[in-house]
Symmetry: C2
Subunit: 289 residues, 2 copies
């Protein structure tokens, strides 16, 4: 483990920017990973209101290598970088900025983190019927990533917000080859969608700490062989996942997506393979405490 | 000693900005001082070309507490902060930026660092005849600080660059009560000035590593009871100081000014008394190696 005195003029800096950032696990995760590989990096947290100025500052500071971008800046940040990967332009947000000598690359690791969480769990996407509950920012990132990489037969999206739902449906239909269905979230539509879904991905805040005792999906709707993935990770097992597991379904916690998005960021920051167990252990220690 | 894993979301960041910064001792000095007092701070180095953007970025990043500003940005940096102390506006440069929740205070610690080096050595300024060799940025900072705080009878300035000399003389005459004399640096003027000076402050790069075997002042001009202060600190003892010491004069190395400007910055960054011996030891270890 390096100590602070070993920070040198060559040390490269990464940071999370967001508002708030006080409870972010990212400094703990990334610093532990840097230390375990003896990398000349340090990771700090900056609460930021003016994301454009923060990114301009990053560009001007040569050793400022990378940013993790979190709420509420993921959409605005995209406007202030030099290069954005095509899928992230379609998603319309980024969670990572990499500076190559002041040229800023923006990209998202939330969608790829979710895809990797599914792959790590042995879940094949190809040809499957995917039901997404929620059409917000995380759902956009995951839907575009699955459509672009996983080859699902159908992605069906339900949300109570019809404006967001229609926007995501239109963007996905224009931007991918996958069949996209969408409906306003009603009891009737949920029953029908659950009867068709192979993989259910929950992308709303329902069930998140401190309101843990709620779930969108009545347990009666689960069918054997369905996989349920909840992007919420506080608690580690939401009511949705506990209900699904009680019915014998395969479940994937949002913590897997969270860890994987950090792993993918780390590898972009450093160019080396992430120390996965070190990073996982930091997350688990913090979330269990 | 803290380790990197102890960096938290609350950790406040300080940095040196300049170009180049690769050989700066500031990260080693300040991180050792933070660690010795167990302060939740970290200090990094950023090579910067666009100082305005770097300072704008600092303003936008809430935990970015302080900057040390070095060559070539000390003059430009002054234009990008919100508040500048009066003496620093007259000097026309700053070496420190402090962010109080995005409100940026600019100030200089080079002049006060030189004044403290003289005070620490027991040298009284009041009523003395001070000879400054050189009229550049460091000379400006020191001259304004001495004139404003030390009460010398006369400050005489010699330089080969008459434009800089006249500018500094005019600014000092307008901005202070001290009697200011200035002359182009010639053999004749140096002989006369040395015959009158009580305290000689050398503010040019002459004698700096790697051209160590030169000095502006022929040893024959030294008189007993003079004090010689060289702001050059590589080597720790310049030829000027070695010559003066061989004649029995009191000498002060530029390293004292360097340490003191860092101490004064540290106290502005943190609001607590600097661990002076820790900081001195880091400087001495580096300069002797």
């Amino acid at each position: 483990m390096e100590n602070m005195r070993s920070i040198k003029t060559s040390t490269r800096v990464c940071a999370i920017i967001g508002n708030p950032v006080a409870h972010s696990l990212s400094p703990a995760i990334h610093n532990a990973a840097f230390a375990s590989l003896d990398l000349d990096f340090v990771y700090v947290a900056f609460r930021v209101e003016d994301v454009g100025q923060a990114i301009a500052g990053m560009r001007a500071m040569e050793n400022f290598r990378g940013m993790s971008v979190t709420i509420p800046h993921k959409i605005e940040a995209l406007k202030h970088v030099d290069v954005v990967e095509a899928v992230d332009r379609r998603i319309g947000s980024i969670n990572t900025v990499i500076s190559d000598n002041g040229k800023l690359l923006g990209l998202g690791t939330d969608g790829p983190g979710a895809l990797k969480a599914l792959a790590d769990a042995g879940v094949a996407i190809n040809g499957k019927n995917v039901l997404m509950l929620g059409a917000g920012g995380a759902a956009r990132a995951i839907a575009f990533t699955l459509a672009g990489n996983g080859g699902p037969a159908v992605i069906e999206i339900l949300d109570i917000n019809e404006t967001m739902l229609q926007q995501l449906t239109a963007d996905l239909t224009a931007g991918t080859e996958t069949v996209i269905k969408s409906n306003k979230m009603t009891d009737h539509c949920l029953v029908e969608a659950m009867s068709l879904a192979d993989i259910i991905i929950h992308c709303t805040p329902v069930g998140m700490h401190p309101r843990e005792r709620v779930s969108i999906v009545p347990p009666v709707l689960f069918r054997p062989d369905q996989v349920v993935f909840d992007i919420v990770y506080t608690p580690l097992e939401t009511k949705l996942l506990a209900d699904a597991r009680a019915k014998g379904l395969q479940v994937i916690s949002g913590v897997e997506m969270f860890i994987n998005q950090a792993i993918l960021q780390f590898e972009r920051f450093t160019g080396v393979d992430a120390p996965v167990e070190v990073m996982r252990n930091v997350v688990m220690e913090h979330l269990k405490s």
